[in-house]
């Protein structure tokens, strides 16, 4: 299951402090390290360590009255169910967001390592996307590139 924040409730600029800052910093550092690993096995281990470190995030399913888009709530629920998604509310947006990125990256690398005729340029392009997203979160949460190096 992939937990996703409600699209209209994504943090855009959110300085962090204390435990959340350290959890997010460490998770992003480990994600970027995993993406540098040449071997899938090492990369997946890094991500599993990162997930263990960030821990479980308390979430509750979002039950919106409206999607604030042309979509009906029932359509979103149907789609989410098919793809194993859950839109959530949580007291820890930052950790939930980063955890979602880690879980997705783990799924991605797992699939890439299990065979199928996947084009290397597509794999690398998506990995670059994950790196860009991690750098974006560094900016959103007022970390620095040195914090996650």
């Amino acid at each position: 299951m992939l937990d996703l924040l409600v699209p209209w409730e994504l943090p855009l600029d959110q300085p962090l402090a204390g435990r959340d800052r350290e959890r997010v910093r460490q998770a992003l550092r480990q994600l970027l390290q995993a993406l540098r690993e040449a071997e899938a096995k090492q990369a997946l281990q890094q991500l599993e360590q990162a997930l263990a470190h960030i821990g479980e995030i308390p979430v509750r399913p979002a039950v919106p009255a409206t999607t604030s888009t042309p979509l009906r709530v029932a359509e979103v629920s149907d789609y989410d169910r098919y793809f194993g998604l859950q839109h959530v509310h949580t007291p820890s947006d930052a950790c939930c967001l980063v955890r979602g990125l880690l879980v997705t990256c783990h799924m991605f690398l797992t699939l890439c390592s299990q065979g199928a005729a996947l084009r290397p340029e597509h794999i690398e392009q998506q990995k670059q996307g994950f790196r860009s997203y991690a750098s974006l979160l560094v900016r959103v949460f007022h970390l620095t590139e040195q914090d996650v190096a």
């Binding site: 992939l2 996703l4 924040l5 409600v6 699209p7 209209w8 994504l10 943090p11 855009l12 600029d13 999607t67 604030s68 888009t69 042309p70 979509l71 029932a74 359509e75 979103v76 149907d78 789609y79 989410d80 169910r81 098919y82 793809f83 194993g84 998604l85 839109h87 967001l97 979602g100 990125l101 879980v103 997705t104 799924m107 991605f108 797992t110 699939l111 299990q114 065979g115 199928a116 005729a117 996947l118 084009r119 340029e121 597509h122 794999i123 392009q125 998506q126 670059q128 996307g129 994950f130 790196r131 860009s132 997203y133 750098s135 974006l136 900016r139 959103v140």
Partner: protein
């Protein structure tokens, strides 16, 4: 190496697509914020991120279709119809992330029309990345018979024609002045 079931590839690589879209929602809204404040260097950074995430989305889309047409017709497509889903017109348009991004693009049309000159080169790269994404989607659709048959939602028009119309619409939001030449189909 083992063979990964096509449904696992389809759903699993879609997660990458959803995360890419989530990232686009964040960086494009940050782009708007920096632009409104006159912070062009920061706006440039966010648009560079948007380009990267758009290219990643293109790759994720291609990876989602990394199995045979036979598997799509007999495994994946039937899984997106009742009783496996509730909707009898199940569609990628039902993604909340995607629908939200389309709202953001529509809202940004004026901004893209009036960009400062300093941001125009990066904007062109962003639009080119979108055209690559649209191409990637079309290629997957064609591979799975979309030039011959209708999409899940729009049965009367070929799926590829439907995607071409979407591309035109969306391109008009992110490149209203049509600075980037169209790719030949």
């Amino acid at each position: 190496m083992t063979t990964v079931p096509s449904q696992q590839l389809w759903r699993g690589f879609h997660w990458s697509f959803f995360i890419d879209i989530q990232g686009l929602l964040i960086c494009l809204q940050r782009f708007e914020w920096h632009l409104d404040q006159g912070r062009l260097a920061q706006a440039q950074t966010e648009l560079e991120t948007a380009e990267s995430l758009m290219l990643a989305s293109s790759a994720a889309m291609a990876l989602c279709g990394s199995f045979s047409r036979d598997d799509y017709e007999h495994q994946v497509r039937p899984s997106m119809a009742p009783p496996h889903v509730q909707s009898d017109d199940f569609s990628g348009l039902m993604s909340w992330e995607h629908a939200a991004l389309m709202q953001v693009w529509k809202r940004m049309r004026q901004r893209f029309q009036n960009l400062p000159a300093a941001l125009q080169p990066q904007h062109e790269r962003f639009v080119q990345a979108y055209l690559r994404l649209a191409r990637s989607h079309r290629d997957v659709c064609e591979k799975f018979g979309g030039a011959e048959g209708g999409s899940l939602r729009y049965e009367r028009t070929s799926a590829v024609e439907t995607l071409d119309k979407f591309r035109q619409n969306r391109r008009s939001w992110i490149d209203p002045a049509h600075h980037v030449p169209d790719e030949p189909i």
